[in-house]
């Protein structure tokens, strides 16, 4: 809200300022339903031509514990969830103590005075507004649900403070509680109004979001995991198998619930090895199937993924990355599975790795993953992460009629079929599913042993060389088909920031900010990581420095996982790594600080 417009109006002695955007952090315990407030705000923004992005941390313990939800709503493009909050809503003392620092100087802290004793020292730096949220909620709904509903009460406070559209919010509350006892929705609306009409003391100013740009079509609001699950359905996937693990489980839960409507099914297996095997079995049976997990489970699936590479059976594997290694940090983000995804197989086992950049991209990249798997008969690993998995964004509703695919297996009888035909252009052969009659009477065996063109085992050095090359050539052909990534900012300059996956937003915002300050910085986000698209060296050559920004460790030699791949690929000494391992998404300022530091510390040394 730093850019508060000067056209402030006065009403009721309270100033109402038009703001282009605001970052609101809600801190409480996980059972307080703070995700729900965030969800309401995000959905409202989606219905109001506003951009929105959220960020949340959930504790890994089931019995509650501290949890936050941060929502950034803006009238312009919102690329990250915001470095600093304009408003902090704190339910407890620990929420207040732990999150005050996330508030920008002069920001507003709205706290539950039933639970929070404010720090008099802090009152100098932040505008404090105490509201007895708990007791007022109990009062408003008659104490039936105890403090349940205080999230909606708080939503009322925020609605007042930000001049939010009350009928739309009421509607959202009603929708959320449909199907439940009507008193639940009634109580929620009561609590909301109690919050909305609460006389805020000590308030000097209210805010109003500036009108966003009208957009064509409807906006839909969801998180990245949902977008992937629906992307799979749109792509025509009808079978999946998995084992639960945070932050992957939502995808399997959603598919378990939704796939039956489409005549499909999702199976919860005894472990990750069973699930990848089952998915490969279903893929072999003719329709690309899916499995997924997070790092620990992907490690377990590795052997079977290698089989799919060898046997040339299509498969989609979703890896929702979390902090590793081992059980690591289950509810934090990290981009540290790239090596596992790209190289986590024994033998030479080329597979495809692609990484969506935001929630909308999750939807489309998933469809791509399915199609790449089908076209090249290869496993595709969709590398996403805890941050996109849980953040909510609004995006334009897809045109389902156009996009939904029917990938029912083609069982038309064929005269003859060589599953591993070495003469196939670019080595690309198509899997022919069981149930397909083969006129010649010669049926294929699909196998993980090195094989001849019919799938029969061989120890021939010549065939192993030819088949190894076949499996690699397919990916080289794919690389030639991949679009070159766009450069964000100017096509040339001093510094190019290279990122992949979910860091696209904060990196772009950093570029925008830096360019505003006159720095010649641009960025590029890689969706296709294995294989890399062709032509990257040309892009790199137009910049003096190339920094690869990743949420993983700089490693033994100072390069993160993507940086190491790029250096190996391009032998370009200008490629350097900017890394962090705090388990949190990049803040825009962190990116800018790191770039500044790097440029300053090495400017003399490198003669730049």
């Amino acid at each position: 809200m730093s850019d508060t417009a000067t056209t402030a109006t006065r009403s009721d002695a309270l100033r109402i300022s038009d703001v282009p955007e605001a970052v609101i952090r809600i801190a409480g315990n996980s059972q307080d339903g703070i995700q729900a407030i965030g969800g309401f705000l995000a959905r409202l923004a989606g219905r109001s031509e506003q951009e929105v992005m959220t960020f949340m941390t959930i504790p890994s313990t089931i019995s509650g514990g501290p949890s936050i939800f941060q929502v950034r709503i803006g009238s312009g493009e919102v690329l990250s969830s915001g470095d600093e909050a304009d408003v902090l809503l704190a339910f407890y003392q620990h929420s207040y103590n732990d999150h005050l620092h996330s508030l920008k100087k002069g920001g507003i802290v709205l706290f539950d005075s039933d639970h929070v004793e404010p720090n008099p020292e802090a009152a100098k730096s932040y505008h404090h507004i105490g509201v007895p949220i708990s007791s007022r909620t109990v009062e408003a709904i008659g104490g039936v649900g105890r403090e349940k509903g205080k999230n909606v009460f708080a939503l009322g406070l925020l609605a007042k403070m930000f001049h939010l559209n009350v009928p739309k919010l009421e509607q959202l509350i009603q929708e959320r509680f449909t199907g439940k006892d009507t008193s639940v929705a009634q109580n929620a609306v009561l609590a909301f109004h109690a919050g909305y009409s609460f006389q805020l003391e000590n308030v000097v100013e209210l805010f109003r979001f500036m009108e966003g740009q009208k957009r064509a079509g409807n906006q839909v609001v969801m998180n990245g995991n949902e977008a992937i699950a629906y992307g799979l359905i749109a792509a025509g996937v009808r079978f999946g198998a998995a084992y639960p693990i945070t932050p992957w489980s939502d995808i399997m839960e959603l598919l378990r619930r939704e796939l039956p409507k489409y005549g499909g099914c999702f199976i919860q297996c005894e472990d990750e090895i069973a699930s990848v095997s089952m998915a490969i079995g279903a893929s072999y049976a003719g329709r690309v199937a899916i499995t997924g997990s997070s790092g620990p489970g992907i490690a377990l699936k590795s052997e079977a993924i290698g089989w799919a590479v060898m046997a040339e059976v299509p498969l989609v594997v979703v890896d929702v990355q979390r902090g590793g290694p081992s059980t690591g940090m289950p509810t934090n983000v990290e981009q540290s599975d790239l090596n596992l995804a790209a190289f986590g197989g024994h033998g030479d086992s080329p597979r495809v790795v692609i990484a969506p950049a935001n929630v909308e991209d999750c939807f489309y990249t998933t469809i791509e993953a399915v199609n790449i798997a089908r076209k090249y008969s290869v496993p595709v690993i969709l590398l996403t992460d805890q941050a996109i998995a849980t953040r909510i964004e609004a995006f334009q509703e897809p045109n389902f009629k156009e996009i939904c695919q029917d990938i029912t297996p083609d069982l038309t009888p064929v005269a003859d079929h060589k599953p591993y035909d070495l003469a196939a252009p670019d080595g690309v052969t198509r899997h022919v599913a069981p149930g397909t009659r083969i006129g010649s009477g010669k049926y294929p065996v699909v196998t993980g042993l090195e094989h001849d063109e019919m799938g029969h085992p061989t120890g021939s050095p010549k065939l192993h060389m030819a088949m190894t090359a076949k499996r690699r050539r397919k990916l080289q052909a794919l690389a030639a088909e991949l679009p070159a990534p766009d450069v964000f900012g100017a096509p040339d300059g001093e510094v190019l920031l290279v990122g992949w996956g979910s860091t696209q937003g904060p990196i772009r915002e950093a570029v925008t900010r830096a360019r505003r300050e006159g720095q010649a910085i641009s960025s590029m986000n890689l969706t296709y990581i294995n294989p890399l698209p062709n032509g990257l060296e040309e892009v790199f050559s137009r910049f003096r420095r190339v920094f690869v920004v990743e949420m993983n460790d700089g490693g033994l030699y100072g390069y993160g996982q993507l940086a190491a791949i790029l250096r190996a690929r391009f032998c370009d000494a200008r490629i350097e790594g900017i890394n962090k391992t705090d388990g949190l998404t990049w803040k825009v300022r962190e990116v800018l600080d790191a770039v500044r530091e790097r440029v300053a510390s090495t400017a003399g040394k490198n003669g730049h």
Binding site: R43, G46, R47, N218, V221, M222, E226, A234, F239, E258, P260, K261, Y262, G263, C265, I267, E270, D271, S277, M278, A279, G281, A282, S283, Y284, A285, A289, W307, A311, E360, Y364, T365, E368, I372, K375, P398, K401, I403, D406, D410, T412, P413, V414, A415, D416, H417, V432, P434, G435, T436, R437, G439, G441, K442, Y443, P444, V445, G448, H456, P483
Partner: protein
């Protein structure tokens, strides 16, 4: 934004269409049509007879050529699919069952057979054995139990008897062997049979009955490894002076307790169907969930169902 990058798939180019055969044109497949590579097993290996009877079964039951799907993990026994001229998959060690489950659950039109060894099924794949059994996923599993790791050349297997001298137990095996029949029972298998490679008629009978069973049918087939455990099953072979005793005629195959008792008899024990019960298959249960869900979206195309879902997310 990203809508432009959806990779297009050209139609299958190898679809040199041959007309489908009508049911009337279908003749039972001959051994000649079903035999593929010459088996690489050692001469005298028990697995040969399982293969020969599998051909017989397909012939006898007039299974359509393209509908047979043969799946295996890794092991001597698991080489099976290469020797069958039909669609087949040679998967990884221990995981034939989940792979076969993926086929079974997504393709009700196929006959799914999994062939496995004692190490493959009960050691590395032990977990899958229990879960496939309890889920009652429709398929037939034949485990060629030779009480040893054949392919890797004589290590102790989970069914190796105490005292068996292997390369990993030079003094003789010390770990209590598992009893696959009891395990299958405990896991909730709905069809459990025991047979041996030295009695072809019986082996075919068991496969025949397994094929008729609507659910997970498990056959433990003693199959001698002449290379690393010769003579292991002699006492069950009348031609070697042993005894082949069938499950008593009055045994109630639905009686779990009675089956458990029969399963626990000392070698050579009983041969035949020890247990058979009827419980809905996972295939049927999932199909029911699907039918119920689909009845609520009747008449809608997939894109319309998705559209409805997204309408709630605006």
């Amino acid at each position: 934004m990203s809508q432009t990058r959806l990779f297009s798939i050209p139609p299958r180019q190898d679809a040199l269409v041959v007309p489908p055969l009508t049911e009337a044109e279908r003749k039972p497949l001959t051994k000649k049509e079903l035999a593929a590579d010459h088996p690489t097993w050692c001469p005298g290996c028990g697995d040969f007879s399982v293969l020969a009877l599998y051909y017989k079964l397909i012939e006898k039951r007039k299974i359509w050529h393209e509908k047979v799907t043969t799946v295996a993990g890794i092991g001597c026994s698991s080489r099976f699919p290469y020797f069958v001229q039909a669609h087949g998959a040679h998967f990884i060690h221990g995981r034939a069952l989940p792979f076969a489950s993926g086929i079974s659950l997504s393709r009700p039109d196929l006959h799914v057979f999994a062939f496995s060894g004692d190490g493959d099924a009960f050691s590395i794949g032990g977990n899958h054995f229990s879960h496939t059994a309890r889920k009652n996923i429709k398929m037939t599993l034949v485990v060629m139990d030779n009480w040893v790791y054949g392919l890797t050349k004589k290590q102790t297997s989970p069914t190796s008897p105490l005292g068996f001298k292997s390369k990993t137990d030079i003094w003789g095996a010390v770990d209590q062997p598992i009893n696959p029949l009891k395990q299958a029972l405990a896991a909730g298998a709905t069809f459990i049979a025991r047979t041996t490679h030295t009695n072809p008629n019986h082996l075919l009978q068991m496969m025949d009955a397994a094929l008729d069973h609507d659910g997970f049918s498990f056959i433990q087939c003693l199959s001698e490894c002449v290379e690393f455990f010769p003579g292991a099953f002699d006492s069950s072979n009348p031609r070697k002076g042993g005894q082949f005793v069938e499950v008593p005629k009055d045994h109630d195959v639905t009686d779990e307790g009675a089956a458990y008792k029969l399963a626990g008899q000392p070698f050579p024990g009983y041969f035949g169907i020890l247990y058979k019960t009827s419980r809905p298959t996972k295939n049927a249960l999932e199909a029911k969930i699907g039918a119920d869900a689909q009845s609520k979206v009747q008449g809608l195309e997939p894109w319309q169902i998705l559209q409805k879902t997204f309408d709630r997310m605006k």
